[in-house]
Symmetry: C2
Subunit: 392 residues, 2 copies
């Protein structure tokens, strides 16, 4: 399919999802750069207007010239300010739907001064459901990310680990190598206030340290102002667990993967718990096929985790989270989540990161994460299939 | 001053700014992670309630434990959801002020379901004005960032440049070295949709390429999905201009700096235009003292740019922007801006990045940027004082 055909089919699927979720919708305005890219293939600055009936408009403030080069759509128009839209199209009506979980309150207020929409609905879920199902083109990009990701964690990192290297230094080496190998370096999140810089670089106890982020892996990070990446003073000591939970990206699309290393001798318990996490990952992965219900998968698998193992499972102490995996794509935290409340069936070509992990007091965190394509035969890992602790 | 004293003085200055700007304010709720950090010294997830009269409350969802470790404030309380706040405090009234340019529309709606505030005001400008004036403690951190920054662009980069290296590879080497030297790597922006990943790594014409970002430097970047950093296929050729406009950060605080290199022989025009940009930087810097008006500085300096030089000055073609510099701190795009509309006087210990640049067709972009402290004697650069093109 041409890129233009691919983009137009995204509009169509989105409109179907809107019709299912928001019966009375009239017009959607998309402002966020990630969604703008998804529908137009350019991240230039403006607003995309999608109407229930009638023409669509992509108004670009900066750079119109670049948007015209990057996007094959034929409804791209230059504007200087949102006021110009008013003159160009008959953008009016009772209600508008926006990315309510993306657009700042004041930004929308300023936009709406020109138009006076009375009801403001959310297009977030319809967009999320559309983005969740990937095209062959998108899957191709994600597989490229997965290849880089597998190389970095399985092959590259073991060559870099040495006694005395700091978490931050290891993070720096990984970031450099991801970019050298063609990755984008950048890792994007969708949720408000969520932030990820490469990921969690954790030596020993850091994997159990308090984290504001809604994930099982703990993190110490650089400092209170940058609770991300890894610490500049935390050195790798002999006989310790290393847990790397990092994001990788290629041409906008991400994969998520966690690998655990034994740097010297680590407790047998760490190997045992890791093995159990891999079993749980594989049990979830087996069920990643069309028609399976995420909330049902969660309930079934969690009910098979015995009470002892559940202690510090999916996060040490207060870090514990109530999910086993999450969608991934243009951002790392996509729809759906393997958790309660996600009752719509999985569809072919969704992509899910599955991440069972367990903290061990005074030792660190073990466990696994890989990114899986939802197929009729169950989840297919696109980030490699070596799941063991790597002994260094 | 103790960290606690420093934080409490930030609250006081903020309340004064609120009183000046929003006469009738009752209560402010701060949700954004950067502002939360500014007032509390922790970036953990929750909401900070600042009242005109009466107690303040910092409610933390995740991680309360970490917030207690990192913040010296004595009004920190754990919550599971925003509903819990309702039980703990008498949070009610007609109006609430929030970070309107930060908080997503839907996020605030969900919060307000519990409280029913009728009028929603903006605390953005009062926060921006408070953050604009840095304490000695903050200036110390920014100077550390400036030292790393100067080392990277003046000393490190010339050792790395070689024919055939790609923009992305150079970016990767710089990112790695910033982190190795104690920097945070991460560069934060405040404006909705703005994004910066290290900065603009531009060989030759890339510095003139279309940019969605509101800055004079162009960028090609990785791809349409990642118009950031530099390109994986664009190689450094002999006899070309290199422009690096990058951010650096230390413990949350940023500096901004641009250096231009001649890799081999470049046109004399490039040196001449660069020299003029340095003169303009220095003219602006001389006026960075308390009492000077940013809009007046802008008008005065721009009026002295002759018509020929003004072509492609502050951005090639449609990239042209209408400012000469910007505040900087916890984000790269802080208050105030050296531009029309900024009519309040500069204050001692504001920190400003000044960045006159000029595009040259088929050659690239030349010019300069450094980060200056506002002092009684004019701007004092904290990112070094070598402004010439570096010949490699």
């Amino acid at each position: 399919m041409s890129l233009k055909g691919e983009l137009l089919s995204r509009f169509e699927r989105f409109k179907k999802n809107m019709a299912n979720l928001e019966k009375d919708w009239e017009v959607v305005a998309i402002f966020g750069k990630v969604n703008t890219f998804y529908f137009t293939n350019t991240m230039q600055n403006g607003v995309l207007i999608i109407k229930r009936t009638g023409e669509n408009f992509f108004f670009v403030r900066k750079s119109y010239e670049r948007a015209k080069i990057e996007s094959p759509l034929d409804f791209i128009y230059p504007i200087k300010s949102f006021k110009d839209i008013f003159d160009t199209t008959d953008l009016k009506g009772e209600s508008i739907h926006i990315e309510k979980d993306v657009v700042p309150y004041g930004f929308f207020e300023r936009f709406n001064k020109n138009f006076g929409f009375k009801r403001v609905g959310s297009a977030d879920l319809a967009i999320a459901k559309t983005r969740a199902v990937k095209s062959d083109y998108e899957i191709g990009l994600m597989k490229k990310s997965g290849e880089i990701h597998e190389y970095i964690l399985q092959k590259f990192v073991p060559t870099i680990l040495r006694e005395g290297i700091t978490e931050a230094e290891l993070g720096a080496e990984i970031l450099r190598e991801i970019i050298i190998k063609g990755g984008q370096g950048l890792t994007r999140m969708g949720t408000f206030n969520a932030e990820l810089y490469l990921g969690n670089i954790c030596f020993a106890d850091s994997g159990n340290y308090y984290n504001s982020f809604d994930g099982p892996a703990g993190i110490f990070g650089v400092s209170p102002a940058v609770p991300l990446l890894g610490n500049h003073r935390k050195k790798l000591l002999k006989d310790s667990v290393i847990m790397l939970d990092i994001g990788c990206g290629y041409e906008g699309y991400h994969t998520d993967k966690t690998t655990v290393y034994a740097f010297g001798k680590i407790p047998q318990e760490a190997y045992d718990f890791h093995k159990r996490c891999v079993e749980i990952q594989n049990m979830v992965a087996e069920r990643l096929s069309p028609g399976e219900i995420p909330s049902k998968i969660y309930e079934d698998i969690i009910s098979r985790v015995d009470r002892d193992f559940d202690i510090n499972f999916m996060g040490f102490g207060p870090n514990k989270v109530k999910f086993l995996g999450h969608g991934i794509g243009l951002v790392i935290d996509e729809y759906p989540v393997i958790a309660k409340g996600f009752d719509d069936p999985l569809e072919e070509n969704m992509v899910m990161a599955i991440e069972p992990k367990k903290g061990i007091e005074n030792v660190g965190m073990v466990g696994i994460e890989n990114t899986f394509l939802v197929t009729a035969k169950g989840g297919m890992s696109i980030t490699g299939s070596d799941y063991d602790i790597i002994n260094v």
